[in-house]
Amino acid sequence: MAVIEDMQSVPSIEDVEKIKDRRRRMAAVGVPLGTALGLIALWQIGVKLFGVPTYIAPAPSDVAGAFISKFPVLMENFWPTLFESVAGFAVGNIAAILIAVAFVHSRQVERAFFPIAVFINTIPILAIAPILVLIFGPGITAKVVIAALICFFPTLVNMVRGLQSVSPQALELARILSASKSEVFWKMRLPSSLPFLFSALKISATTSVIGAIVGEWVGADLGLGALIIDSTFNFNSPLLYATVFMSSGLSVFMFAMVTLAERLVVRW
C-alpha cells in the first residue's frame, strides 16, 4: 500500500524522464556556451590585468566596440566575400558532381582525368592563388575560381564513392527489372550518393569561405580578406578581430545552410 501511495505522490517515471531530458538538453547548450563566455571573460581580465597593448591583443570589449562602430565597413566587405564563397561553392561542387558522373559512367574517362584531379589537389591553394589572380585579374572571378577549386576535390572523391555505393544486390534487382543505365542512375545511383554528397558539401561550405578570403589576400580592394590585410597593416587589431569573427560567422552560416538542406533531403 505504502508503495502505491508513494508512486502517486511522486512524479511519474515519464515526468522524471522528461525533466532529465530537458536538463540534458540544457546542459548540451549551456556547457559549451558557459565555457565560451568564461574564456572571453578570462581574455578580458588577462588583457586588462597585464596591460597588453591593444594593437597586440585587443580586449573583447574593444572588439565589440569595433564591431559596432565599423559595422557599415564590415558589411560592405562582407557582401563580396559572401558572393564569392557562394558562387565558388556552386561552381566547384557542380563541376565536381558532373565530373564524378562522367567518371562513374566511363572507366576510361576516370583513368584519363583522375590523376590530373589528384595533381591539382596536391598544389597548395596559397601557391596557386597568385597564378589565378594573374590569369583572371583582380576582380571577383579569380576569387570565385579559387573558392571553386578548393571545393572541387573533396566533392569529386565523395561523389564518385557515393555513386558507386549502390549495393550489388540492388544492381541485381535493377537487372532483373531490365532497368536501363539511365534508370539505374536516376533511381539508384543518384539517391544513394546524396549522403556522401552532403558530407562533402559540409566540408566545402567552410572551405569555400577560406578560398574566397585567400583570393582576396592576394589582391582585392573589397572583401573580408582585403579587410584582414588592411587592418593588420594598420595595426587596427580590434577591426582585424571583428573581421575574423565575421569570416567565421560566414562559414558557420554556410555550414548551417548545408546542414539544413541535408535534413530536408536525406531523411533516411
Partner: protein, 269 residues
Amino acid sequence: MMAAENIQGAPVQSAPRDLAASLQAASVRFGTFTAIEELTLDIECGSFYTILGPSGCGKSTMLRLVSDLIPAASGDVTIFGKTTEQARLAREFAFVFQDATLLPWRSALKNVELPLEIGRNRGIDIPVGSRSPRELLELVGLKGREDALPHELSGGMRQRVAIARALVCQPKLLLMDEPFGALDEMTRDRLNLQLLDIWRETGTTILFVTHSIAEAVFLGQKVIMLKSHPGRLREVVDIDLPEPRTIAQRDTPEFNRYSAYLRNLLETC
C-alpha cells in the same frame, strides 16, 4: 477473381502440366571452377518448390542462372518456353533476395511501385498485376505502413515489402533466395503461412531456397536436393502432406518422416 486463381493454384498431382522452368544439362562456371554441372530439372507450373543442399552447393547460383543474372556455360535454360533473357524482359519472374534490398529513401509503397516505374518512360509494356501496390501491401499485412521508410520497419516487415514488390508485376515464377533466413523463428512461421496464402491465391510457381529442413518440408510440394562439388541434382522429393499446410502438421509423424529422410539425404550430399 480469387476463386479462379484458387483453382489455377490448387495442387493437382496427376495431370501433366506446363513447365515454368526447364534446365537441360545446364552448367555454370566461374573461371575454371564449376559451380553447377549438367543440371537437368523441370519445374512444373503452379507448384511450390523448395531447394535444399549443403552450403556452397550452388543453390543461389541456380536461382541466378534461372533469373538471367549469370549465363549458362553450357546446356539450356528455358522459362515458359522462352529464353531467360526473353522471360526477364517480359517480367515473367521476380526475385526476392535474402536481405530485402529496399531502396532506403523510398517509402514502403514507393518501393513496391519501383518495378512499375522501371521501363515506363521507355514505352516498355510492363505487365501490371490485378492488385495495386496498396492492395499488395495490405495482402502482406502492412496496411497503414505505406509511408514508412525502410529504416522505420522491422526486418520481417521489410522482407514483406520486398515480397509485395516482387508480386507487383504478377510474376508467373517467383524466385526466393533464403528470404526469411535472417528472421526469428516466430516471424518466419508467420511469413511462411502468409507466403502459402499468397501462393494459393496467385497460383504462381515458387522456387524457394532455404537452409531449414523444416521450412523446406513445410512449404514445399517438392523439395529439390542439390549436392555439392560440383553442384548437381541429388533428388527431387515429393512432399505429400495435406493441403492447406498448417503449423500443427509439423508435429505429425509424416512430417517428421520427411524431415528425417531429407536430413539423411543432406548428410550424404
